[in-house]
Amino acid sequence: MTQIQKPARVNYRALPDENGRFGPYGGKYVPETLMPALDELEEAYLQARHDPDFMAELGRLQRTYVGRPTALTYARRLSEHLGGAQIYLKREDLAHSGAHKINNALGQALLMKRKMGKTRIVAETGAGQHGVATATAAALLGIECVVYMGTVDMARQQPNVFRMRLLGTEVRGVESGSKTLKDAINEAIRDWVTNVRTTHYLLGSALGPHPYPAMVRDFQSVIGQEALVQMQDGEIGPGRLPDVIVACVGGGSNAIGAFHPFLEYENVRLIGVEAGGHGIESGEHAARFADPELGRLGVLQGTMSYVMQDSDGQIALTHSISAGLDYASVGPEHAWLRDLERAEYTYCTDEQALEGFKALCHLEGIIPALESAHAIGHVLELAPTLPKDQVILVNLSGRGDKDLGTVMSVLGEEL
């Protein structure tokens, strides 16, 4: 039998390079006013990473406030129901404030408080999970906080708007453009440009200009680092590495956090699931990698990556049942991992995500976020095709309380 020649070993930890590039992706495409702020942020972050006191304080907050490590749950009934691979869930839904977003929000808020002379935070939010996480971290650390949110998203994620306000954050509705996540980011950047001397922009995904994609990835890598240990622990996990890791990809922060510590383990397949919306052929989706007509190389909000756009370079309107995946671009490191064929990307339609949502509710007693339900939706297809001795790890990025309104309006009559 001919041995297939593997490509030369890639050092996945070497990137981004000093210009913030993952191969052709990434970079710093921002107005000049922000360039010094990005340099300052990068310097503060590099210093913090090598500061044992900072890392110890962050670790302590993760254990005593966030509730880390989050559980690893064997999804026995779901695995039996699908009749194939064994399915494990990394329970980021159990993290304080209900999603993985707190990992990054707390990391950046602490960075600002300890290492940068700033007093105010602005953030964007789509599903509201990052907004709630940021509002939470701001309350904990006593920082003034403003969150921008598209008015369409405010309507579909009402409980999270109320949560943020309870936590003392000012939520500002954004009426421009599609009134969703992309427009909230534009407004947050405009606020940041205006108040850059006092304000830190707490970007919520592995997106935006360098150093955000790398910094957010590092703060989220705690997910994969814990899972790596938990999976190999025979008491709570299968006692070995997974064969496949599945995570949903909007901007891609939960996925990159789950994937990154496993990159060197080349036998572990990494699968990112984008939002297929009403299906690729409908054009109403947020599957940047799946639609060669709409998803092409481009620059949006500070970074070069795959961007949904029309032939004239205007950013396309996206659709997903899940506000957190409803975004026209994807983190630059994902684009690079896809080029390297280290990670694979697929999509799940609104309908398939709802099937995943229902399955996890009925079979495991877990109400997932609609974002995370996309990962489950893909597992419904994938698990039956794999033998029973294979293991799938799903990053269950958030809980679904915030989505009950949306789900009720779709499934109401069924229940």
């Binding site: 107005p31 000049e32 360039m35 010094p36 108040n195 004239d312």
Partner: protein
Amino acid sequence: MSGVERIQQVFANLKAKKQAAFMPYHAMGYPTRQRSLEVVQALAESGADLFEIGIPHSDPLADGPVVQAATDAAIRGGTTVADCLAMMGELRAAGVQQPFCAMSYYNPILAYGEERFAQDAAAAGVDGLIVPDLPPGESMKLEPACREAGIATIYFLAPTSTEARIRSVAAHATGFIYMVSVTGITGERSQLPSDLVDFIQRVRRHTSLPLAVGFGIGNRAQAAQVAGIADGVIVGSALVRAAGSADGVAAVRQLGTELAAGAHG
């Protein structure tokens, strides 16, 4: 004569007269295709020395609400990059002589093709290019393409810019440097910042390029104030707002005349 040279000549002529350049912005396609052509022509007849011609983008993150609303409307009206270039060609054919600096964001230019854009823009009569989300370090392809086509690469400096950034921008910029008067987005302000003189002096130490100030300037008094300390006065939102009013072209003509008087002293 190349675009760079045409821009240089405008600033040199004004300097000889101890005047600052009046540099109006207008978004192509706003409020309609035909009206936007009339707006530029009216400004050309009201004392404009150099134009900033906006090519609309769906996500103009350096722009304030007035320009955002105008460029959104232009896109909804079907304005494309290619048509903006065609309109500049039509303005040249109609006798508009002042240099055109096309202003857009990076993605529409990337989608058009950077080299092709530079060539087509030069052919359409574009003399300079302004891309707010493309700082010098990221303009690895577009800058050489513009050089090749004789188009000036105009970069920004902001009050937050460090000495290192000022040196870098000074080394890459041609035509003039776009000085952002305030930390913020485009749009009129009631007062110009007090540190503007310091900022201009800080940049002046590193370059002999003309320095044009924009963001926040909306009336004759402010134009005159800026003309006293800089080489050019850029006005956008106030004119765009006028262009969108009921008798848009007349309103633009009147405001343009006042602003030009302020800049020319």
